[in-house]
Structures are given as C-alpha cells and as structure tokens.
C-alpha cells in the first residue's frame, strides 16, 4: 500500500482493495459531481482552454494517469479497473484531452526510457504542464507507415530532423510531439526507424491546421526544417523505433473497439426517432432493433477481449475484429440518424426537433474517420486474413 512515490501525488487509497463495483461507484460519483455540464458530449475535441481546469483538477487529485503504476504517480489500476475508469468517462460524456503523454509517452518511457528521461518527462506530464501529440503519418506514408521518410541525421551529440508529419491531432494545442523518423535508409524499412521526443517550440518546426469536412480544425501538418534534437531525447536504441511504436498498439486496439460510440449513436437515434414520431413505425423498429442487436453483441464480444486483457493476457491479431465491427456499426447508426431526420439531416450544428436540440451530424462526422484512423479497416482485414485465417500471400 505505502509504495514510495517517485513522481506525482500519492493515491488517496489503494484501489486494488476495492471491488470493481465499489471502484465504479467512486469514479462515477466524482465525475458526476464535478465535471462541468456544459462540456459533456462535445461533438468536437475541446481545447485546453476549455477543459484544462477539469484535467488540472484530475492531476491534483492524482487521477490524471489511471494506466500508470502508483510509484510513477499513476492510479495503478489493473486492466479491469482501467476499463471501468474509461467506461465511466465515456458514459458521462467526458471528452479526452490531448492525452498522448499519459497514454503513450509515459508507458513508453517506463518500458524503454532512461532514468533521466523519466525524471524529465513524467512529472510535467502528470501535472498537465506538458501535453503531447503523435507524429506518425506522413503524406506518402499512411497505411504503409514503415515507409516513412522524415529523417534524423546525427551531428555530434545531436540529431537534425527534416521532413513532414501529417494528420497530427491537435498539434497546435499541445507543446510536445513524439515522432517516428528514419535513421537508416538502407536495409529493411522497419529496421531503420527511431523514436524521438521533441519540443514543439524548437526552432524549425511549423504547425499548420487542416480544416476537416466537419468544419473542425483538429488535424494538423507538422513541418521539420533542420530541427535539432539532443541524443538524450532518443527513446530506446537507435533504429528500435518500430518495436516501440508497435508496443503501444495493445490497449489502443481494444479501446477503438469499445461499444461506447455505437451506444451513444443509438441514444441519439432513439430520441430523434421519438421526436419524429417514428417510435412505433414497424419499418424503423426493425432497422433499429437490428442495430440494437449489433450493439448488444458487440458488447458481448468486447467483453470477451476486455476480460482477456483484464486477466493480463496478450491480445492476438483477432482483436482487430472489434475495431472493424464497432466503427462500421457506428457508421450504420449515424447513417440511419440522417435518414430518419429527413430534411433536418442536412442541417449543421444543433438542430431543434421535438423540443430538444441535438447535433444530428455529430455522430456522422465522428463515425466517418473512425474506419480510417488507428489502422484503416482494410488494413485490419488484411491482418486478420493473414494472421488469423492463414490465407496465402500468393
């Protein structure tokens, strides 16, 4: 219980002594009592100027890093309680902040980093003073990420980075980026990639926003023009970046397949149908119950993988099915919302209908990129075909 805390604040109690139901109740009570009503279920990502107060509060409370061990200032939750924490966040409509520092950088440094890197980066991440984005995709390297060409060339005890990253989420609202860069252009493409930590204030970096089709500015391009990074910000060994990047996929693959987004879509659909007087329409009801059944069965199969993760067992390539099924189901629900809305289905922003206002296109635009990011569904199908079904390559 009284494990010495290296960074951050000590936990108010030993979460492992609570049952899962008790823990859920503690978390739910906290969220419901303190999360600002106006920020719930935002159809777009919130800016740090909007949700910073809430997450600084979580940081002071020691709840900012539920996935980290307690000795590093995290909550030290086991996988089952971590899923509960994330479920409760989503249930209450609490948007994520740019939490790549907590989700990715922390776990990477704990596993691959040096003591120096841990002491320089973990405390500011825990205090929300440093927030991070992920520099993976490039204009010519999307699904074929390992072909990336942004390069880092050694110059004394520094590396000089040149190139371009793209589809970087909210790069303008954070201060650091972790990047995959090419440090060896020869040999197998996966074996010449390294993982660097970079301050976005470094000279030579330029961030440009990309307006998306929903009208939001969440995605960015990040340009590197002779950006100098000290060798102490290289994580792991040189050319080991691909291994590090892959080690981060574990939890992401299960969270992208959570039934929460489809459940949210179904909720919008049900209340909209009611407002449109379609509640008893047999055609609508059959379509709705079909989607409802899909959501229920997604929950059943999600439960199978979640309990596998909760037992600490590694997830196999079959987990890709969660992401495919969840995201395509969310799209089918979002499509039906628009269909049911009739002429209102083309209206942007909050639309009044039956005495309530809903963002009818919110689910649609949330669902659209879900089948692309985190490894497109086509790539996920390739993975299953090869690694699960053992289908031949020639």
């Amino acid at each position: 219980m009284s494990e010495p805390v290296t960074f951050g604040v000590a936990q108010e109690q030993d979460w492992s002594s609570l049952s899962e139901d008790e823990f859920r109740s503690v978390v739910r009570t906290e969220f419901e009592a303190h999360y600002p009503e106006a920020l719930r279920y935002s159809p777009r990502r919130l800016l740090w100027s909007e949700n910073g107060d809430w997450f600084r509060r979580m940081a002071r409370k020691g709840w900012i890093a539920p996935n980290w061990p307690a000795r590093f200032g995290g909550m030290g939750l086991d996988p089952a309680k971590l899923l509960i924490f994330l479920e409760e966040q989503e249930r209450w409509g609490i948007g994520r902040f740019q939490d790549h520092g907590v989700l990715m950088v922390g776990p990477v440094l704990m596993r691959f980093g040096t003591d120096d890197q841990r002491s320089r980066y973990l405390p500011p991440i825990l205090r929300c003073e440093q927030r991070w984005c992920q520099g993976y995709s490039e204009p010519d390297s999307g699904s074929d990420l390992a072909s990336l060409r942004t390069e880092a060339v050694r110059d004394g005890d520094e590396f000089v980075i040149n190139g371009q990253k793209i589809w970087t989420t909210m790069a303008y609202d954070v201060d650091h980026i972790f990047v995959l860069v090419r440090t060896d252009p020869k040999g197998k493409k996966q074996e010449g990639i390294s993982f660097f930590l970079v301050d976005l204030a470094s000279p030579g970096i330029e961030v440009r926003k990309i307006r998306d089709i929903a009208g939001h500015d969440e995605l960015c391009e990040v340009f590197f023009d002779n950006v100098r990074v000290h060798e102490r910000d290289l994580v792991g060994d040189i050319n080991q970046g691909w291994t590090i990047a892959k080690s981060l996929l574990g939890f992401e693959r299960i969270s992208l397949g959570s039934p929460k987004l489809p459940e949210y879509g179904l909720q919008v659909l049900a209340s909209l149908a009611d407002a449109c007087g379609l509640g008893d329409d047999p055609v609508f009801r059959d379509k709705f119950s079909s989607l409802q059944l899909d959501v229920a069965h997604l929950g059943a199969i999600y439960g199978r993988f979640a309990s596998q993760a909760a037992r600490g067992e590694p997830l196999g390539p079959d987990v890709s099915l969660l992401k495919i099924f969840a995201t395509e189901l969310f799209q089918r629900i979002a499509d039906l919302i628009i269909e049911v809305a009739g002429p209102a289905g083309g209206l942007a922003g909050e639309v009044a209908m039956g005495g309530r206002a809903r963002n009818l296109l919110g689910p649609y635009f949330k669902a659209r990129p879900a089948t692309i990011y985190g490894g497109s569904n086509e790539i996920q199908r390739n993975i299953i075909a090869r690694q699960v079904l053992n289908l031949p390559t020639r």
Binding site: Q267, V268, S289, A296, F325, R381, L391
Partner: protein, 377 residues
C-alpha cells in the same frame, strides 16, 4: 464427477460425427428423416438426458453442454432432432412437473419415444397467445380443435401441444396416432421435416400444465431451445467456413491460390467476424439463462442469439457457395449440406426478423438522450 461426464459426452459426440459423416445423405427426405440407429446411440450415450434434472432420472448437466452437443452436430450438418427432442421437448416435459410427464420423459431419454412440441399456428407466429389450437371441456373430456404447424420432428410419436383454454393457455399430450389427429410431414430444405397437425375433436388424457405456469414453462423451454439452435447454427457456420478457408488456401487460378486475392480475403474476414460475433452472442445467452431466475433479459438474449445466428449462418453459407464458385453448388461436394441446414434451422422456431422483433419487445426504445439539450418551444 460432472467433468468426467462432460468429457465423455464430448468424446461421444465427436465420435458419432466422425464415424459416419455421410449419414445425413441416406436419411434426408426419407421418413423418419433421421437415422434410428444413431438416435438409439445418442440416447444410450445420455445426450437426451443432459438437461433433465437428476431427480427426474436425467444428468442435470445444464444448458452449456447441450449447446456444445448441438454445435458439434452442426459442424457436421447432422439432421437428427437433438435440439427439438433433447432440449425443447425434454425441457418442457421436465418443466411441467406433471406425474405422467415424468413417465413420458423417461421414454424420451431412453430413445424409445420421440416427442415434439407443437406451439405455432398455421402462419408460424412466435406469439404464444396466437397458437392455432383451442381446448374445450365437454362432459369431463378435453377436446382439442385447430391446426398447429412447424413442429419438429415430423416423425414424433407424440406432441406436446399448446392450446388456448378457459384458463388462458394450456399444454396437452397428443399421441400422433390418436383419433382425430392428422399429422402431415412438410419437407425442409435440409431433408428433415416438420409436422402440420390437424386436430378434430382430438380427445386428450389431461392437461400437463395450464395458465400462467404453462406460459412460463413453455417460454423457458423455448428460450433454451433458441439458444441451443443458435449454437447448432454456430456449428453449421464453423463447418462451412472451414471448407471455404481450406478451398481459398488450395484452389489455384491465374497461377496463384485464390485466397491471395484481397477482395476474397476481406470477404472471408467478414464471414469469420460474423462467426465470432455469433459465438459471443451464444455464450452470453447461455450464461444468462444458466444464471437462474426467469428475467425478461433472458428472453431478449435468447431471441437475440437466434436472430444473430440465423442471419449470420445464412450469410456465411451463402457466401461460402459464392467463394467456391460452381463446385459449391454441387450436392456431392457437401457445402450445400450446410447451406440447407442453415435454411431449415434458421427458420425453425422463428426466423431472424421474428426474433429481432421479440428482442425489441423486451427492450423498448430508450428515448433518454444525454446528448440532447432542451430548447424553448
């Protein structure tokens, strides 16, 4: 102890399937539409006693092993009426608690009496109150009149018939050869058959169960049968998918294995996904039904599993034929046994749309929407 029994059971099912995979071809379309020898063997191995409580002479093993037996049968596209008799009729007779039901149940378990359940009306509604038979009492005799249809197995020696009566609903024991009873076989796609039963002043020896108890007992037995039928359909999908994946790996065209084509790979993944989702739905429903007390969630889960399995099996088997090309359409090849089984089993006890509707009836539209905000009228 029960682990040993389960293990024995599993081995006996696998042995039965492996011993004579071509059995189905000899018995399809020919009365009594299954192998009598195989049926005796199943009874001897205790398959028909799995769900029956020990107090009634059964093994009392519960739903999960029954679902497992059905799944293995499905993997070999067998048409013996295990689910209809060993689950639906057995669970129903055991549930009534009626003294004569216990004797009939003993003969059912021994394989000496084939029993079916007749509960649906002429057009196959799954509403119990819509059943097509009426029971009336005249001069101390119970007489049944009406038509009931889609009862399995068609060759049953006797049926438990659902009828409307003064107390609401009742369950009645009707031997197939009793006066006033006409049983006609309707052939199913897989070569099994369902019974259409016409009752004209058919005299019946007494009520097995009546009123609210009859409805509750039948609902429980039906829910268990839906889940086991879904598990059997899961096995059918397994069988079709295994053949299809092997074909994709070995069939060569244009100088390569056709399974190397991405469009076929992605199709195969979609079939496999439906198989995995069906398995999760079946397992969740089995756990929920085994968790005891009757709840509406059990009916929703059972109908949900049946709707999923029926739709997924038809999709997987139909697409399996497509992925094979012409050979998949040849009876001799064997893929058709799965497709035909998925057609028959998917429709039996009600098809996907009917069970989606039953699922929906347990889960009303939830119109609370946390994401909507009130606006001034």
């Amino acid at each position: 102890m029960s682990d040993d029994i389960l293990d024995m059971l599993k081995r006996s099912v696998e042995g039965y399937v492996a011993k004579d995979p071509e059995r189905v071809r000899r018995h399809r379309g020919v009365f009594p539409y299954h192998s009598v020898d195989a049926w005796d063997e199943m009874a001897g191995q205790g398959w028909l006693s799995i769900l029956v409580p020990e107090a009634l002479g059964g093994l009392g093993l519960g739903l999960a092993p029954a679902a497992e037996v059905a799944r293995v049968m499905g993997q070999a596209a067998q048409i013996e009426p295990f689910t209809a008799v060993g689950v639906f009729a057995a669970a129903l007779l055991a549930g009534t608690g009626h003294p004569t039901a216990a004797d009939d149940l003993a003969m059912l378990m021994a394989g000496t009496q084939l029993v079916g359940v007749a509960w649906q009306n002429e057009r196959g509604s799954i509403e119990l109150s819509a059943c097509g038979v009426r029971a009336s009492t005249t001069e101390g005799k119970i007489l049944l009149n009406g038509v009931t249809r889609f009862a399995a197995p068609a060759a049953a020696d006797a049926f438990v018939v659902l009828a409307r009566c003064d107390a609401g609903l009742g369950l009645y024991w009707v031997p197939s050869d009793a006066p006033g009873v006409t049983v006609v076989s309707e052939l199913a796609a897989d070569g099994s058959a369902l019974a259409r039963i016409e009752l004209r002043d058919a005299e019946c020896r007494g009520e097995l169960s009546g009123g609210a108890q009859a409805e509750q007992v039948l609902t429980r037995a039906l829910d268990m049968s839906l889940v086991v039928a879904a598990s059997e359909l899961l096995g059918v999908m397994d069988g079709a998918l295994a053949m299809t994946l092997e074909f994709l790996r070995t069939r060569r065209q244009f100088g390569v294995a056709i399974g190397s084509f991405q469009v076929l790979q992605h199709r195969a993944v979609d079939l496999w996904m439906q198989r995995e989702i069906t398995e999760a739905a079946v397992n969740a429903a089995v756990s929920l039904l085994e968790s005891g007390a009757d709840t509406p969630e059990q009916g929703a889960a059972a109908s949900g599993a049946k709707a999923r399995a029926a739709q997924a099996a038809l999709y997987v088997c139909g697409q399996s034929v497509q992925l094979h090309g012409a050979i998949g359409f040849a009876d001799e090849y064997g893929l058709g046994l799965y497709l035909n089984r998925s057609l028959s089993l998917g429709a039996w006890l009600g098809g996907a749309a009917q069970h989606r509707a039953r699922f929906a009836s347990y889960t009303p539209l939830d119109v609370r929407d946390a994401t909507a905000s009130a606006v001034a009228a």
